[in-house]
Each structure stands twice: as C-alpha cells, then as structure tokens.
C-alpha cells in the first residue's frame, strides 16, 4: 500500500435554529471571501409524474423576486457578490460567494426568499420560456441530446428517476401555473427542509448572530416526508434501438447499482475509475487504444441518492458493428467480475481518489457544498471520512459488487444509430 493515511479535515461547527434550520459554519480565514450555500431537500424525484421539470423551473423562479425584495440579483451584485444554483434529481442547491465583509447581504437575500416569494406572473411566463430554451439547447438541439430522455425511462419503471430534471416533455413546463408554484413553495421551501452552510472569512459567533437575526423569524413550515415508489428488481435485459441525424453510432449500457448511502456504492465508484478514469483506465486502453473499437468510451456512476445507475457509454469506430462493440464491453465487464483487480491497479485508483480529495480542499465553494450534502446524508463529518472508506476497499469486495451489478438481466441497452444522410 503506497498511500500514507492522512486524516482529511474540513473543520466545522453546527447548530440548529428553533424553526428547524440546520446551519453548518466552516471558518476559513485564508480567504477574503465568504460563501453562503443553501441546500433544499427537494429534487426532480419529488415531482408529480404529470408535472415534471417543476423542481428545476422552480429554481429559476427563486430568482424572480421575494416578498420584500423585488430583485434578487441586483442587490447582490451591488455588494460584489455572485450566485448560482442547480437542480438535480435529488436536491436543489443555491449558493452565493461575496466579499466576507458583506456577508449580511447574503443572509438578507436568502432569508427573504425562504420566507416567501413574490410569485409574479411575469416572472413565471419569462422563466417558462427560458427553461424551454434550455430544454432545446441542452436536450433537443444537440446531437445525442435526448439520450437521457430515452435512457432514464428504460432503467426506471417506478421510481421518479425515470425522468430527467429538465422534465419529460416541454409541455409539462408550458403547463406550469402560478398555483402549482405556490403549492410547491409551501411544501418544500421552509427551514425544516433546508441546510445552510456558511463558509470563509467569518467567525462562528457572527454566523450564529446573523442566522438568528435573518432566518430565526421564519416560520418552521411543514416537514416534507418523502415517500417514493421503490424501483422493483429488474429481472430481464432491456433493449431499445433509436436513430437520429447524428454522425456516429452510440451505445449505452446502464445497470442498476446501490444508491449513494447503500452498501456497495464505494466499491462501484472505484470500479468506474478502474474502467474509465484517465488514460490508464481499462476501457480506454483496451478498447480505444489496443483493439481500436471505439473513438471514445466512458463508464460512470450517477451518484444518485436512491436507487443508483452505472453507465457504460461508447461511440464505436465507423465500420465496427454494434454487436462487436457490445461484446467488447461485456468482455471487460466479465473480466472485472471473474479476475481479482491487481494490487497495483487498486492502489492506483485509491491514490487518485485521495489526491482528488486533497485538491478539492483548495475550493471554498466545493467544501461548502460537500458539507451541505453530507449533512443531508446525516452528518457533515462524513466528508472527513470519505477517503478512509475508499482506502478500506478490498479486491474481493470489488469483485462481489461487479458480479452483482454487471448482469444481463440488470442491464438496459440503448443503441443510438446514425441515420444515413
């Protein structure tokens, strides 16, 4: 074992306001900046199957003015701040970075939009259009852009992961009404469903004082209890073929795997590194370089909180049949199921994981987002034990997980063919 064990430490303090808002403070006095990150425990998985894309549309509306502040961005930019947000199938996360001395502006803005939105019809109308343009830009007007709209419903039959965060179709976004927006806000946007991380050049005392001042008076609201349908065990291989005006064939094989907090997750994350991380990875070396079957190939784990997904995706070289390409991928998957990963190779992916963790400590915002996510999982301190978990994995555990996951009856294969033109 080459790695020398090192305890990664992102230090923090935690307190909970009377209304249920969980607050994490990470002091970092090496920077003149501060970060305020708010994670809301709501994602596309919480949507009504007939109103998909709503969590993400709602994220856009959070910038359309709140009850006391007509303009969100303007006052923040005025104090030298920047912000953004993203929605996933699992969560919605908002963040601000600004000069630390102006941190109170961030508290003021974020607390007002947690308190209540302005719910302007104009904002809804414009953001519907903006999101529809985003839908086109990312999913419809791009070669292979619609892959996820096709692959998700193949893999998931019951769980709401069967739709993408952008939504199943444009119509769901067109149909969004202000009543839906209000109901969604009431259900999900309150202190009990949020985690706030304050980071950077700020003391714990100051963070506490500002949190009490601005967030303390917000009513607790109702706690949202998530009850999602469980994805039934897949029992036979699924396969679809589609075609579009794209230049090259593309092949996707997706597998169910454990969710983020389930046993086996870390093993499979390392499997994706063994298969596909960097130029020394197996798929790149064997299938792109040696056998010359693909121009590019990737394996990755979606990191989903509930039932997870492992994807192998590659574009075969022109003239290589889908059958040949597919067989070559399966050969690599069989290898990892039947042969122990050599020590050197396992050490390599562990070392890479470890150095990635050290490099991520260079970014204040990354640290804040990570703390928020792990607090949602139950304890922000889990962040400081991530590396240990990867380092403890054995080759037997890797093999066992590979055997569990890489089975034909657990696979969904999407063949994306180039239409001749």
């Amino acid at each position: 074992m080459l790695s020398v064990f090192r305890y990664y430490m992102v230090k923090f303090n935690r307190f909970i306001l009377a209304n249920g808002l969980r607050v994490i403070v990470h002091e970092d006095h090496t920077t003149p900046m501060a970060v305020l990150n708010i994670l809301y425990d709501v994602g596309a998985r919480d949507e009504d199957p007939e109103k998909t894309g709503f969590a993400h549309l709602f994220e856009h509306l959070m910038f359309g003015g709140s009850v006391n502040i007509p303009q969100y961005d303007e006052p923040l930019q005025r104090v030298g701040g920047e912000n953004n947000a993203f929605t996933t199938n699992d969560i919605t996360n908002y963040y601000i970075t600004l000069p630390a001395e102006n941190i109170e502006t961030a508290f003021w803005l974020e607390s007002d939009r947690m308190l209540n939105l302005a719910f302007s019809e104009k904002s809804l109308e414009v953001q519907r259009n903006v999101v529809i343009e985003e839908f086109k830009q990312r999913y419809l007007n791009q070669p292979y852009g619609d892959v996820w709209l096709k692959l998700r419903p193949m893999v998931y039959k019951k769980h709401p992961y069967r739709w993408a965060t952008i939504g199943k179709e444009v119509k769901h976004i067109e149909d969004a009404r202000i009543e839906d927006v209000k109901a969604f806000f009431k259900q999900h946007y309150n202190p009990q469903n949020a985690i706030m991380v304050v980071g950077g050049n700020i003391s714990i005392e100051r963070a506490k004082e500002l949190a009490e001042k601005w967030f303390g008076p917000i009513p607790a609201g109702e706690k949202y209890h998530r009850e999602l349908p469980k994805e039934p065990m897949q029992t036979e291989a699924r396969r679809e073929t589609t075609s579009a005006k794209v230049p090259l064939n593309d092949l996707y094989i997706a597998f169910h795997m454990p969710g983020r907090l389930e046993a086996g997750y870390y093993e499979l994350d390392l499997v994706s590194d063994i298969l596909s991380r960097g130029n020394s990875s197996r798929l790149y070396r064997n299938l792109v370089k040696d056998k010359q079957l693909f121009s590019e190939i990737h394996a990755y784990n979606m990191g989903s909180f509930d039932s997870g997904m492992f994807v192998v995706e590659g574009k075969p070289i022109e003239g290589v049949s889908i059958e040949t390409a597919e067989a070559a991928i399966w050969e690599e998957l069989e290898k990892i199921k039947t042969e122990p990963v050599p020590d050197n190779e396992l050490t390599k992916v562990k070392n890479k994981t470890e150095s990635t963790m050290v490099f991520s400590e260079m970014s204040l915002l990354d640290k804040a987002m990570n703390l928020a996510t792990f607090e949602l999982f139950g304890d922000a301190d889990m962040l400081n034990h991530e590396t240990e978990k990867y380092l403890a994995i054995t080759e037997q555990q890797i093999q066992e997980q590979a055997q569990q996951v890489f089975r034909k009856e657990n696979s969904s294969t999407l063949v994306y063919l180039a239409e001749s033109h």
Partner: protein, 426 residues
C-alpha cells in the same frame, strides 16, 4: 425591534486587491521559472508553457497535434506507461493547446513529485509521436469533429474566427482533410523546435519549498539544453475578411446560434480596462443588459453574454447566444439596440455603481487559491504588461465615468464594422 427586510444591509465596497507576486529564477538553460509559494495543502501545480510556432497553412494542425500527443509516447515510455506512472501516484497530467501558447500541466501531491516529475521531463524532452498512436489520434479526432460540426454554437464560433482572423492559428477551424496533412516527421521537427528551454516558461504554484525548487531545477535545469535552431514563434498578421455577414442555414434547427463581434484593442492598450467595464455592462455578468433584456425580459434564450479576448496578435469583442429559431431576428435586433443605447445614453449612476462593485468583488473572488494568483500573473506576463496593469484596472473600475464610457462606446462599437454569424434559421 422588528426586522426591516425591505432595506438592504450596509455594505463595504472592495477597495484593495492584494496579489501574490512570484519569485523569478532564470535557469541556466535559458528558461524562466516563476514560483508562487502559498497554501496549506501539500500539493503543487506545475505548468510548462511554450509559445506556438509560426502557423503554416499547408500544415495547419501541427501546433495542436504536437501538444495533444505529448502524452502518447517517448523513447523510453509508451503512452500506457506514461498514463500509469502519473495515475498511480495520484497525479493529473494535462496538455492544453491555446491560441498563443501551448502547455503541459501537472497536478501532484508534493510527496509524489520525485515519481511524477521524471515522467514530465520525459514527455517534454523526448516525445516521439509513434505512428500507431498518430493513426489512432487522427481517426478519433476525425470522428469527434463530425459530432462537433453538428453543434450550431461550435459552427458559429468557427465561422466567426475564420472571418475575423483569416488564415492564422486564431482563424483555424480544422476540417476532416486537414488531419491528412499530419506526418510524424513534421511533428518531430516541430516538437524539437518548440519544446526547448529558450521557449519555455515554468510556473509553479502551491506549497513550494526549497526541496521542490531543487527537484525542478535538477530535472529542467542544466541538462536540458536548447536546440541550435531557435523557435520561430512569429505569427502572420491577422487578415479580417471583407464579408461581414454569414448565414448557415439548418432547416431543422430549434435554436439558432448567434455570434457577433469585431476586432478590438488588447490588454496592452490604455483603454482596455475601461472597455472591460463597458463589456460588463453590456453582457459580462448575470445582470447585464443583454441578459436582462433578451433572457429575463423576452425569454428568447437560456443565456447570452459578451466577452473580450486579448491575444498576442489582436483582440476581439464578441456576443454569443443560442436563441429560439423563431425569434432569432428579434434577438439580433435587440442586441443591436443595446449597443446603440450604450452609444447614445449615459449609463445611469446606479447601474455603474453596481457594475463597479460587482467587478471588484468578482476580482477578489477570482483569487480563490494560490493557483488563481498564478493565473493572474500569466494573464499579464503573456500580454506583455506588468503588475501595474492590475492597479490601473482597479483604478479605472472604481473611477471611470459614464461620459468616458459613452465616448468609448462610440470609439469602439461601430455597428457597421460588426461581423455577424447566424447558424440555424434567420
């Protein structure tokens, strides 16, 4: 006391920016080493930066191909061995081709540097571009190119660059057949001339103690010597095209890509910082006029922005967006309207104050860690200006007047000189 949520809290404008300046060491072999030592993490980023060689229209891809293939084999290491040795020690090896310079970058934990640095030395001094790897490279690049050419924004950018810069490295948009001009012998010759100490700047950032400096000096110091033939890094002058309007029709497009802009002054020019303020007002931040009008008011697009590029041989200002195909013409009209307003109406005090604070905060926020300080240095160093530039920049951001910006808009933003590229429907 009730909380007043209507009024914004007090705030302080950012007054001062303090930049870490490097220690400079001139190595025996003529290369320049710049060292940024700061930070708590036991890691470094090392960049080896080389000026590109003179553009040869008959062999247009040499600069990019040589850089991309530095990871593909040396006399003593195969591509696999290179990848293995860097990955095994948790390092990250990148090659980055740029318009003016190309670089090789290593991210490494300090304790692994004795293992990762020899690999870097090998690829920088002894790459051999094996024929089988070159064949693979060409085929894979040709495949990827086919996918890129179906993306409207990429097609628009290529067309725009060609129009503005002509037959130069900046104007180059590789086509399928260009890859056929790549030959191993040319690449070897190009490599030998370009990747030599006299054409190399090394920038190290991280926790850099004397041991690390010594390691770098011993690997890239006296026993790495320059080639007798000096690197010819002079580039041909830019030759903008006469034609200013380009429409590439895509009948099935749901969105059209718009790219507009014109040649512009570079960082060396005294007007440049004020122009950055003007650009920010127009399209340089989320609250910009283009975003406010075309996204937040009209809903024509997911995003629109403007930018300034400052390169060795010239600069440009450009505006880019992808908009609903049915509103493309309206969007172009609105863009032109916003430019006209900048030339005819004074920017209101309130907006200008906001942009000043935003830009200062953004500058402060861009100094996240020691790597960012090194990046700020590279910006000025390769533009031929010194640290005074940042003093001038912050002075101008804090003090430029609306009248000066109006004059600047009239001086530089001549709509008749704008190039306009539309890919999709119009």
């Amino acid at each position: 006391m009730t909380l007043n949520r209507k009024t914004a809290p007090q705030f302080q404008p950012v007054e001062q920016i303090s930049l870490i300046r490097p220690e400079h060491i001139k190595l025996d072999n003529g290369s320049n080493l710049f060292i940024f030592n700061s930070g708590d993490q036991e890691l470094v980023r090392i960049e080896w930066i080389f000026h590109n060689l003179r553009f040869d229209p008959a062999k247009p891809l040499l600069n990019v191909a040589v850089n991309s293939m530095l990871t593909e084999g040396t006399s003593s290491r195969t591509a696999s061995e290179i990848a293995d040795q860097i990955d095994f020690y948790g390092g990250f090896l990148q090659v980055d081709y740029g318009y003016d310079t190309s670089q090789v970058v290593l991210f490494s934990l300090n304790r692994h540097l004795p293992k990762t640095l020899p690999v870097m030395k090998d690829i920088i001094t002894d790459s051999i571009f094996p024929q089988n790897e070159l064949d693979t490279f060409i085929r894979n690049q040709q495949q990827k190119l086919q996918v890129s050419l179906q993306k409207n924004d990429i097609v628009a950018r290529r067309k725009f660059n060609k129009a503005l810069y002509g037959d130069t490295l900046y104007g180059l948009g590789a086509d399928f057949d260009d890859y056929k001009t790549l030959h191993r012998e040319d690449m070897l010759a190009h490599f030998r001339q370009m990747y030599q100490p006299s054409n190399c700047t090394i920038v190290v950032a991280g926790k850099v103690d004397q041991t690390i400096v010594d390691l770098i000096k011993s690997s890239f110091g006296s026993d790495w010597i320059s080639h007798p033939v000096k690197a010819d890094t002079h580039q041909p002058e830019l030759t903008p095209n006469e034609e200013h309007f380009y429409f590439i029709e895509k009948p099935d497009a749901l969105q059209s890509a718009i790219r507009m802009g014109l040649p512009m002054i570079t960082r060396q020019h005294l007007d440049f910082p004020a122009l950055q303020v003007l650009n920010t007002v127009l399209g340089g931040y989320f609250g910009s006029r283009l975003m406010a009008n075309i996204r937040e008011d009209k809903g024509y697009t997911y995003g629109i922005g403007s930018g300034l590029s400052s390169l060795k041989k010239g600069g440009a200002m450009f505006i880019a967006s992808e908009v609903g195909a049915d509103v493309c013409r309206d969007a172009v009209n609105e863009i032109e309207k916003e430019i006209t307003i900048l030339k005819t109406e004074l920017i209101p005090d309130d907006e200008l104050a906001l942009v000043r604070n935003y830009m200062m905060g953004s500058l402060l926020g861009s100094l996240e860690n020691v790597f960012s300080h090194a990046d700020k240095f590279k910006n000025i160093y390769f533009s031929g200006v010194d640290y005074d530039y940042y003093d001038r920049y912050t002075d101008v951001v804090k003090s430029v007047t609306a009248e000066e910006l109006l004059q600047l808009a009239n001086k530089y933003l001549d709509l008749d000189k704008f190039y306009k590229v539309i890919v999709g429907k119009y």
